[in-house]
Each structure stands twice: as structure tokens, then as C-alpha cells.
């Protein structure tokens, strides 16, 4: 707890939370939305294809999307770390925040599993397995849960009070 308080009181956290600079909290949280749009948006498109919507879309080239989704993931891991540091004690002791982390962990494992399932050398690519479809449903549910938990964590901690900038 002392460590969490120290992180919250660090120069960087104070700058993020209280500087009033457009480059602090506002820009970091904008990037957090951009990363979300990239990873959840492209995941959703792939999941819909796997579930049989737009069946004419070949699956094999979709493999190229995964590195872009990982970029979205890392944008959010870094921006999320900065946001969590600014409210460290409130976040880390909140079951909602921990739930969000757990859901994202599962969603990322699901994403990696779906990639393995879709692009195994033995599969022709277009005959989608039941396992792939199950993973696509899980992916949609988990990202929905992550977004819901994420929206609610925004009401936790001192940063929730940030209002207009000067």
C-alpha cells in the first residue's frame, strides 16, 4: 500500500493527474481509446468472419491483422499503466479494476488461441473448426466485458475528478 501511495504521489503521476497539460491525462486517455478501437475493432471483424458473416472473405490474409492488433494492445498496456499509476491505490485495491485486468488477460489468451486455431499449417483456412467459432464467441463476450469494466473503473480514484483544463 505504501508503494502504491508512493507511485500515486510520484512526480509523473502528479503531472498526469494535476498538471492540466493537454499532453497529460487527456492525451493518454485518447491513446487508450485508440488502442481499444484497434484491438477490439479488428478482433470484432475477425470474430464476425469466423462466425460466418461475410463468408466470401478468405481467412488466410487476416493473419496480417494480428500484428496491428498487438500494436493496439501495447498502446493500451502503456497508456493504461500511466493512467493506473495516477490512481494507483484506488485502482489496485478495486475488485473492478482487477476484474478488468483478468478479463483482458483472458481476451488476449483467446485472441492468441484463435490465431493458432485459424492459421495452423494443417487447416485449409476456410473450413472453420468449432473450436475457432467458440473462441470467436468468447472473444466478443470478453471484449464487451472488458469495455464495461473499463468504463466503470473511470469513476474510481482522484482522476475521476479531472475536469476542464486551463
Amino acid at each position: 500500500m505504501n508503494l502504491l501511495r508512493a507511485i500515486e504521489a510520484s512526480n509523473f503521476s502528479v503531472w498526469v493527474r494535476e498538471s492540466g497539460s493537454i499532453w497529460s491525462y487527456p492525451t493518454i486517455i485518447f491513446f487508450h481509446s485508440v488502442g481499444l478501437a484497434i484491438i477490439v475493432g479488428l478482433s470484432t471483424a475477425i470474430d464476425l468472419r469466423v462466425l460466418g458473416f461475410a463468408p466470401g472473405v478468405p481467412v488466410a490474409p487476416l493473419e496480417k491483422l494480428f500484428p496491428i492488433m498487438w500494436v493496439g494492445f501495447w498502446v493500451n498496456a502503456v497508456s493504461g499503466l500511466f493512467l493506473a499509476m495516477a490512481d494507483a491505490p484506488a485502482m489496485v485495491t478495486s475488485w473492478l479494476f482487477l476484474l478488468k485486468m483478468a478479463i483482458i488477460g483472458l481476451a488476449v489468451i483467446t485472441m492468441a488461441s484463435l490465431k493458432r486455431e485459424l492459421f495452423r499449417p494443417t487447416t485449409s483456412g476456410d473450413a472453420l473448426s468449432r473450436a475457432a467459432k467458440a473462441l470467436a464467441v468468447m472473444s466478443l463476450l470478453l471484449w464487451t466485458g472488458a469495455i464495461a469494466a473499463g468504463r466503470l473503473t473511470a469513476y474510481l480514484g482522484p482522476s475521476a475528478e479531472i475536469k476542464g483544463l486551463n
Binding site: 481509446s33 470484432t44 464476425l48 490474409p61
Partner: protein
């Protein structure tokens, strides 16, 4: 006109509910607003990336069959956005950042209209795997990405630059 519409909206029960009369409505709409955003940007962005030449193995015609899901995301955001507006119309009415966001949405709409009205979408429909789209379609795709991420930027800046929540 927008002012009288705002005054009317403020008197509706939707406004009362969004203002806190139904405490879970605002967080629910925020969650849906982000889900709709991911659907819109995910589908439209994928189409844009393909037109810009990134996942060239995908032919355009079947990919365009996902567009209704992007439209569904937009409709979700329109409805939840109206709910936010109704909750406190006057924090948006004279708010430059809010109107910048609306302006970017309008430009994104014009971009879509141009794509369909100029027959570009039909030409793009004929573009198979490994083929390139016409140059004009690439310009539309680049504008689409810029404008939608711009919409997100202004939306995110509403509490900070616009003083709205």
C-alpha cells in the same frame, strides 16, 4: 433551432433518466458508446486498411458485406449520443469541442456519400484479391481513417477542453 430543440429535450423523461433519474443509464450508455465505436472503427477501419493496400489478399466485395455491422455501431453511438445530449443539452450547445466532433462526423458522412455517389464503391466492389483499388478510393480510405480518429479525439477531449462530461 438547436437551442429550442435542446430546451425541449431537457424537458423529456429521457433527459431526466440520463441526468441521474436512472443512475445506471449513463454508465450503460458510455459502455455501449465504446462498443459501438469499436464496431464502427473496426469494420470501417478494416475496409480502409484494405483499400490502402494492407490486407491485399482480401477481395473487396465480400469485405463490404461487413459494412452493416459498422453501420450498426454508428446507430448505437447515435442513440447513446442523443441520450448524453438529452442528459445535459446546455453543456454541449455552446461547446466548440462538441461541434468540432459533430463537424468531423459530418465530414466523415460526406466522405461516405462521395464514395457511393461517385460510383467508387461499385468500382471497388470489382477489386479482387491482390488487386489495387483506384487512387480516388485510396484517398477516401485515408480521409475516413483520419476523420473517424478525429471524431474520437474530439469526443475524448469533451471533458477536458469542452468542460462537458
Amino acid at each position: 433551432m438547436v437551442r429550442s430543440l435542446s430546451i425541449w429535450l431537457h424537458g423529456t423523461s429521457l433527459s431526466w433518466a440520463a441526468r441521474g433519474g436512472v443512475p445506471w443509464l449513463w454508465p450503460l450508455c458510455e459502455t455501449l458508446h465504446f462498443i459501438g465505436m469499436a464496431m464502427l472503427i473496426g469494420i470501417v477501419g478494416l475496409l480502409d486498411l484494405r483499400m490502402l493496400g494492407l490486407v491485399k489478399g482480401v477481395p473487396l466485395r465480400p469485405l463490404q458485406r461487413l459494412i452493416p455491422w459498422g453501420v450498426a455501431g454508428f446507430v448505437i453511438n447515435l442513440l447513446t449520443g442523443i441520450t448524453f445530449y438529452a442528459g445535459d443539452p446546455f453543456q454541449y450547445l455552446d461547446n466548440t469541442v462538441f461541434w468540432l466532433k459533430m463537424g468531423f462526423i459530418a465530414l466523415a458522412g460526406v466522405n461516405v456519400l462521395l464514395f457511393y455517389a461517385t460510383g467508387l464503391s461499385r468500382r471497388v466492389d470489382e477489386v479482387g484479391a491482390a488487386e489495387e483499388v483506384p487512387r480516388a478510393a485510396r484517398a477516401v480510405a485515408a480521409a475516413s481513417l483520419l476523420l473517424w480518429f478525429g471524431v474520437m479525439y474530439w469526443g475524448r477531449m469533451l471533458p477536458f477542453l469542452g468542460g462537458a462530461f
